[in-house]
Symmetry: C2
Subunit: 157 residues, 2 copies
Amino acid sequence: MSTPEELLKIGDFARRASTNLRTLRYYEELGLVRPASRSAGGFRYYRPTDVNRVRLIRDLQELGMQLEQIAALFGPRGEDLDRRERLDRVQRALEEQGRLLEERIATLRAMRGRVGEALAKLEECHACGLEPSTDNNFCEPCRRTLDPLPDLLSALF
Amino acid sequence: MSTPEELLKIGDFARRASTNLRTLRYYEELGLVRPASRSAGGFRYYRPTDVNRVRLIRDLQELGMQLEQIAALFGPRGEDLDRRERLDRVQRALEEQGRLLEERIATLRAMRGRVGEALAKLEECHACGLEPSTDNNFCEPCRRTLDPLPDLLSALF
DNA sequence: TTGCTCCTCACGTCACGTGAGGTGGC
DNA sequence: TTGCTCCTCACGTCACGTGAGGTGGC
């Protein structure tokens, strides 16, 4: 016999999923995460394994996806899919997430590189005694090297 | 003589900054990016170097910062800061961005690892002939190994 | 003068935040 | 019965999106 998982009230479920009641009710409205059942009084009861679903939704949001896109990625969740369809759909969703992750990691690494360069240049600025003048507003371009500043310094000066 | 940078109308400026008019006007409302001047008829004119500022704002938003936090990170931008204060403020902003980047990259890498594991398990599923039953709803737990599914598969099945 | 760009309201939207007022469950 | 959790509206917010109706600039 499979252990019949204990259902959770929305508060406990929200805690396990690191989210809150409002968000869960909104996800339900969009059909993203539905409680397994309701009590006679209207209380929502959730399957513990569905916390994984909530966490995945949040992760995909962080990757820049809108809730409607996420719903489309998940596709219908009925019983009316056969084994093959189900496996294929899951694989496509995972591959899509993988693509988004690779892109994101690449751009963040590039950003990190630029931050490093800006900090290095800033070291030089500490050592340099020249004052910014109206001639080179906020030290742009650099009076010492006459080069333009790294973009990040240009943004922050 | 320093080349007096040509000022840009909001449309050209938006194109260079990969954004749009509404966003720039909203940033102005919040005091984040102000046009260098206005024409008699009210047209905004921007300094080309300020595209760096706009791009930085967008990058920080992608890292999860709100516009008010970004404004605070930037601090006041008046002429009334001395050289040392200015350099220190810029350094703090860059270091903060660096921290956010490291955190973000680490969590994205972890996510990528989990996607890889899920895809590997899915390969096994393709090879496995067992049908999901009501006993193991959507193959959870796995009927072959009796292990729980990777969280991502649990979320997607 | 014509066409394109820009202007200022101002209402709409997405993903929730935050009460108000009321009821369910151990 | 008491206290805590939950319920459903419903209005508010952040960061813009999207016209409406009008004017500026080469």
